[in-house]
């Protein structure tokens, strides 16, 4: 026998080789294609924003855990890294660095560690950070650098409107969809990511690629992303069918804005989404409906961040009412 | 193994026996059971009826005055009680108001919608037997 004392523990004595760290790094991997597209599209400013967000998230997690909460430091588990990445993905490239840092502080300090750290937060940290910045700095947060032409410049890229922004503004001016659509980028551009928008929401294609990887690796299940996108498509489709001059077509709604980023990477955050499949579907329908309501009738052109946060609040309620079916809960078993 | 007597499908409220008449026990409820998380519980409440009293019949055991007890109520009954006490009269009131507004002047409609509560509660009074049977709470001594 080994000279070290024998180990005693309760069963089971074997364990699957999945760990939460591996899960997290799978997500990071899945985000890479989209990040590469963004680096190509926005150039240096994307690098700066991403690095600022990631580094500051990690640093804040370290500082707060070490010096304020005095709990073990967990920056190695990869969750703060994801929060940083996703926060950056939700910001316009080239946002002033101090704002990025403030957003990270809010995400990590307020939304995550105030609740006790990984696993206890009710709201999606990256989104809390993002929405905090959006509400506080609406001007800077809606200054979108246009794609590609400016990717080698360091500062002050020319800014353009996002497709959803153009629609919202157009509708406010009383324009019809056919007038607006002349200004809109093509669907292919949106698929590839050659439009204005947040750093990471650019390329639907790259995001879907990563999403499929996550589903294949069983990091996330298909229920949330598919339901969210289907709900968005269905609802916007209904409105579009009723009045195509007033409302944009469903394909545009699915491809534009943060719909895909949100559906695959943010609504699926394990911590802040329901546990059971049924619950996930309910949650995802909620996200989809609120997103569409905000996009079509609210004052923000894009609503998925808010929608996810609002539904985050409903998760405890959903978990409460959509429990797995207990074995043997059926009153009388049927005789065969 | 058998089924476990589930002690969790109920509401429990502690109180003190304040009067005993035969099998009818009057219990004064401690007010703060549901406010346990409220820091201001000591200072809370505007109405003077801070200590609620309820009457319970329990022929099985005897109780003495000032005995601390727990009142136990089946969980589903709480919502049912809320429906009878608040939600139904509310629906009646708003219904009357909407109808009344269409037919009469505003003030009359308003007064009517308040007045309709009188027959409602009279009706509830008439259903005494039903309520007695439905809302049975029981006592546990501590």
């Amino acid at each position: 026998m080994s000279d070290q004392p024998i180990i005693v523990s309760a069963s089971p004595h074997v364990h699957s080789d999945r760990t939460s760290r591996k899960l997290m790094f799978d997500v990071v991997l899945a985000l890479m294609p989209a990040l590469l597209v963004s680096l190509y599209v926005f150039g240096y400013s994307a690098v700066i924003t991403t690095v600022a967000a990631v580094v500051s998230c990690l640093v804040f997690e370290y500082l707060i855990q070490r010096y304020i909460l005095k709990t073990p430091v967990t920056i190695g588990d990869g969750s703060a890294l994801i929060t940083g990445l996703l926060l950056a993905f939700n910001l316009p490239a080239g946002l002033p660095v101090w704002m990025v840092i403030a957003g990270s502080l809010v995400a990590i300090g307020i939304a995550k560690l105030s609740f006790g750290g990984l696993g206890f937060n009710v709201f999606n940290p990256a989104l809390v950070g993002r929405v905090f910045l959006l509400v506080s700095f609406p001007v800077q947060m809606t200054r979108w650098p246009t794609a590609v032409e400016n990717n080698t410049r360091l500062v002050d890229a020319v800014t353009g409107a996002t497709p959803l922004g153009m629609i919202k503004e157009g509708v406010q001016f009383g324009e019809t969809m056919s007038q607006i659509s002349t200004r809109l980028p093509s669907h292919t551009d949106m698929l590839l990511g050659l439009t204005a928008g947040s750093l990471g929401e650019m390329s639907a294609l790259a995001l879907i690629l990563g999403g499929i990887y996550l589903i294949a690796r069983k990091v996330i299940s298909w229920h949330i992303p598919v339901t969210v996108l289907a709900t968005i498509a269905l609802m916007t489709g209904l409105f579009w069918w009723a009045d195509p001059e007033q409302f944009a077509n469903p394909l545009l709604h699915v491809l534009s804005g943060g719909a895909i980023l949100g559906a695959f990477y943010m609504a699926t955050d394990l911590v802040t989404s329901p546990v059971t499949r049924k619950g996930m579907v309910v949650f995802a329908i909620g996200v989809g409906v609120i997103t569409v309501v905000i996009r079509l009738f609210g004052s923000y052109p894009e609503g998925i961040s808010f929608a996810i946060l609002i539904m985050n609040a409903f998760v405890p309620l959903i978990n409460r009412y959509f429990k797995p079916k207990r074995f043997g809960a059926r009153i009388k078993a049927k005789m065969v | 193994m058998g089924s476990i007597p589930s002690h969790t499908d109920v509401f429990v409220h502690s109180g003190v026996v304040s009067r005993v008449e035969g099998h009818s026990v009057t219990v004064t409820l401690d007010q703060n059971v549901h406010c346990e998380s409220c820091r201001a519980k000591g200072a809370c409440g505007v109405s003077d009826g801070a200590a609620k009293q309820i009457q319970i019949d329990d022929p099985t055991k005897t109780y003495t005055r000032d005995q601390p007890v727990r009142v136990v109520l089946k969980k589903g009954l709480g919502h049912k009680a809320v429906a009878w006490a608040y939600v139904f009269p509310f629906l009646l009131m708003t219904g009357t108001l909407i109808l009344g507004s269409a037919l009469f002047e505003e003030w009359l409609a308003g007064v009517l919608s308040l007045a309709v509560l009188v027959p409602y509660f009279t009706g509830v009074y008439a259903l005494k037997g039903y309520f007695r049977k439905t809302f049975k709470a029981s006592l546990q001594s501590l």
């Binding site: 609406p138 001007v139 809606t142 004052s299 | -």
Partner: protein, 196 residues
């Protein structure tokens, strides 16, 4: 130690409560009487303050010479100002229902030729930090000394010359609409009473 308390008999209860409510009634009645004047004065003072901030020096009582004009769903006010009986300008209110949240009401001071002297915001419920910046010097500054006859009182986005507040185009648009309303009313008023 404990003071003896009045027993809770019906008579006692009614009497004491009656006494207290009566006392309250008297007090409040009197305080109301007493503050009626100051309340009115305060309102007047606020108006005067707004007036003097947007008008050149005057020595008449514009508040007493106010002209009410019905415009749209609401009415606006026209306050002429005189210095020793010479017309030195007028303050005209304007409003817009297109604010981000609720109405925007402003008071525009015009020189006799219609040049804007100054603008004061009377009422707005815009979002703090966004729409509320319409009260700020840097926004108002661009209107001073402009004559709307040669200055397109619309935000740049709509083809006008007003530099909108960043992130608050809606508020800026409402502000401009109110200013334009005031200007048009002023012009109408001048046309109706050409002597002034």
């Amino acid at each position: 130690m404990k003071p003896k308390r009045r027993a809770s008999t019906l008579a006692n209860m009614v009497l004491v409560l009656l006494a207290i409510t009566l006392a309250a009634g008297v007090t409040l009645g009197f305080v109301n009487q007493w503050t009626l004047e100051p309340k009115a004065a305060a309102q007047r003072a606020r108006k005067l303050e707004a007036l003097s901030s947007v008008l050149p020096e005057f020595n008449n009582q514009p508040v007493d010479q106010v002209v009410r004009l019905a415009v749209g769903r609401d009415s606006i006010e026209y306050y002429p100002a005189y210095m020793d009986d010479t017309f030195v300008g007028a303050a005209v209110t304007g409003y817009s229902e297109k604010g981000y949240s609720g109405n925007v009401r402003i008071m525009v001071g015009f020189e006799p030729d219609g040049t804007i002297l100054n603008i004061a915001v009377l009422e707005q419920k815009e979002t703090p930090g966004l729409g509320t910046k319409m009260k700020g010097e840097s926004f108002i500054r661009q209107f001073r000394g402009q004559n709307p006859s040669g200055f397109d009182l619309r935000v740049e986005k709509d083809g006008g010359e007003v530099d909108a507040l960043a992130g608050a185009t809606i508020s800026s648009r409402a502000f401009c609409e109110a200013a334009l309303m005031a200007y048009e009313a002023y012009v109408d008023q001048q046309n109706a009473q050409p002597d002034k």
